[in-house]
C-alpha cells in the first residue's frame, strides 16, 4: 500500500517537474497538451466563479496566455492544477477590479440574471433516473449561483476538483481556517436554499 502511494506520489512529482521545465522553455506542444487535458476542469471552475459562459470562455483563453507568459513562476511544491487554478483565480479578481474595486463578491448575480448559468442538455435517453438526476443538478446549479463567489469557489475546488484544503488555500490565497469555514458555510447555505426551493 505504502509502495503504491510512494509510486504515485513520485510519478506525480516527476510530472510536475517535467511540466515546470516545459513551461520555462515555453514549449507550445506541452501547452497544447495541457490545454486539452485541463479544458473541462478549468472551464467548469471559471464558469462557477463567474456564472457567465462568455466571460468564463474569455478568461479561459486569458488564463492560458498567462500560463505561457508566467510559466517560469510555476511552483513545483504543488500540482500544476493548483497553480493553474490560482492563475485563473487571479485573473477573475483582476477582471472584477477593472470593473469595480471589489473582491469576488462582485460576481454574485452580476446582472441579476439567474438563468445565465445553464446546465447543458446531455442529449441522452430520457430515462426517469436520468431526468431526476438532471433536475437535481439543475437545482444545485441554480442554488450555487445564489451563493457568494468565495463559497462557490471553495465548494467547486473541494468537491469537484477534489483538492486538499491546503491546495484550496493556496489557490484562493486565504488561510486554511477561512477555507474550512467557506466550505461549511457554502454547504449550509446551499442546503438551506435547496430546502427552500423544495418547499
Amino acid at each position: 500500500m505504502n509502495a503504491t502511494a510512494f509510486y504515485f506520489e513520485n510519478s506525480m512529482a516527476q510530472e510536475s517537474t517535467e511540466i515546470a521545465r516545459g513551461l520555462r522553455r515555453r514549449d507550445p506542444d506541452l501547452l497544447d497538451r495541457l490545454i486539452e487535458q485541463y479544458q473541462h476542469r478549468l472551464l467548469r471552475y471559471l464558469l462557477y466563479l463567474t456564472g457567465r459562459r462568455d466571460l468564463a470562455e474569455d478568461l479561459f483563453q486569458e488564463t492560458w496566455i498567462r500560463v505561457l507568459e508566467r510559466g517560469h513562476q510555476v511552483n513545483d511544491k504543488y500540482a500544476f492544477s493548483t497553480w493553474l487554478f490560482a492563475v485563473a483565480h487571479n485573473l477573475v479578481i483582476d477582471h472584477m477590479r477593472r470593473k469595480q474595486p471589489s473582491s469576488l463578491d462582485g460576481l454574485m448575480d452580476e446582472n441579476g440574471d439567474e438563468s445565465s448559468f445553464d446546465v447543458p442538455a446531455t442529449g441522452q435517453a430520457t430515462a426517469f433516473d436520468l431526468t431526476l438526476q438532471r433536475e437535481q443538478s439543475e437545482h444545485i446549479a441554480a442554488g450555487m449561483q445564489h451563493l457568494p463567489a468565495e463559497y462557490r469557489e471553495a465548494l467547486v475546488l473541494r468537491f469537484q476538483e477534489g483538492m486538499s484544503l491546503d491546495e484550496i488555500a493556496s489557490v484562493a490565497c486565504v488561510p486554511l481556517g477561512t477555507v474550512k469555514s467557506r466550505i461549511y458555510r457554502g454547504l449550509s447555505s446551499l442546503e438551506q436554499r435547496l430546502k427552500g426551493a423544495q418547499l
Binding site: R26, E57, F60, Q61, W64, I65, H139, Y184, L190, L194
Partner: protein, 171 residues
C-alpha cells in the same frame, strides 16, 4: 448549559461533515483524525438532524459532481492558436531584445576602444601643433559629442518640420 453544549456538538459535527463531504458517513474519511471519526460516528448514531445534514451533503456533492460542463472544441482550438501566436511573439521579442543587447555591448566596446585611440591621436596632434593640453582636450570632447549633437539637431528639426506641416493642415 446542556443545550449550548449540544449546539456546540451539532456545529462540530456539521463542520466535520462539510469537510468530509460524501465520505462523512463512512468511518474511513481521510480528513478527520481517527478520534474525530469515532466521535462523529457516535454523534450521527443518536442525532437525526446531523445525520440528515450528512445525507443531504452527500446528495448535494453527488449532484454537484453530476453537472455536465464541457468546453467546446472551438474554444480549445482557438485557445491553442492564440497561445501559439503569443509564444511566437514572445520568442521574436526575446530575439529582438537579445539582438539589441548584443548591439549595445558591441557599440560600447567599440566606443571605448575608439575613445582610447582618439585620445592618443588628439594628444599626438596637440603635441605636433604645440597646443596647450586643455585645447586639444576640448577638441577631443567636441569631436566625441559631435555625432550625438548632429542627431539631436536633426531630430529637433524633423519634429519642428512635422509640427509646422500638421499645423498648416489644422490651421
Amino acid at each position: 448549559m446542556n443545550s449550548s453544549r449540544n449546539n456546540g456538538a451539532h456545529e462540530r459535527a456539521r463542520k466535520l461533515i462539510a469537510l468530509a463531504g460524501p465520505d462523512a458517513l463512512s468511518t474511513t474519511n481521510q480528513l478527520s483524525t481517527q478520534s474525530s471519526n469515532a466521535w462523529l460516528a457516535a454523534h450521527l448514531e443518536r442525532c437525526s438532524s446531523c445525520r440528515a445534514f450528512a445525507e443531504n451533503t452527500a446528495e448535494m456533492v453527488r449532484g454537484l459532481r453530476a453537472i455536465p460542463i464541457a468546453a467546446d472544441r472551438s474554444l480549445v482550438s482557438t485557445t491553442q492558436l492564440k497561445v501559439r501566436r503569443r509564444a511566437l511573439e514572445l520568442q521574436r521579442h526575446r530575439e529582438r531584445v537579445w539582438l539589441v543587447s548584443v548591439s549595445c555591448a558591441a557599440v560600447t566596446l567599440c566606443a571605448l576602444l575608439s575613445a582610447v585611440v582618439l585620445w592618443r591621436g588628439f594628444e599626438w596632434l596637440g603635441a605636433r601643433a604645440h597646443l596647450a593640453s586643455s585645447v586639444w582636450q576640448v577638441g577631443f570632447l567636441v569631436f566625441c559629442m559631435m555625432p550625438a549633437l548632429v542627431v539631436a539637431i536633426l531630430l529637433l528639426a524633423k519634429d519642428r518640420h512635422l509640427a509646422n506641416h500638421y499645423g498648416s493642415y489644422e490651421g
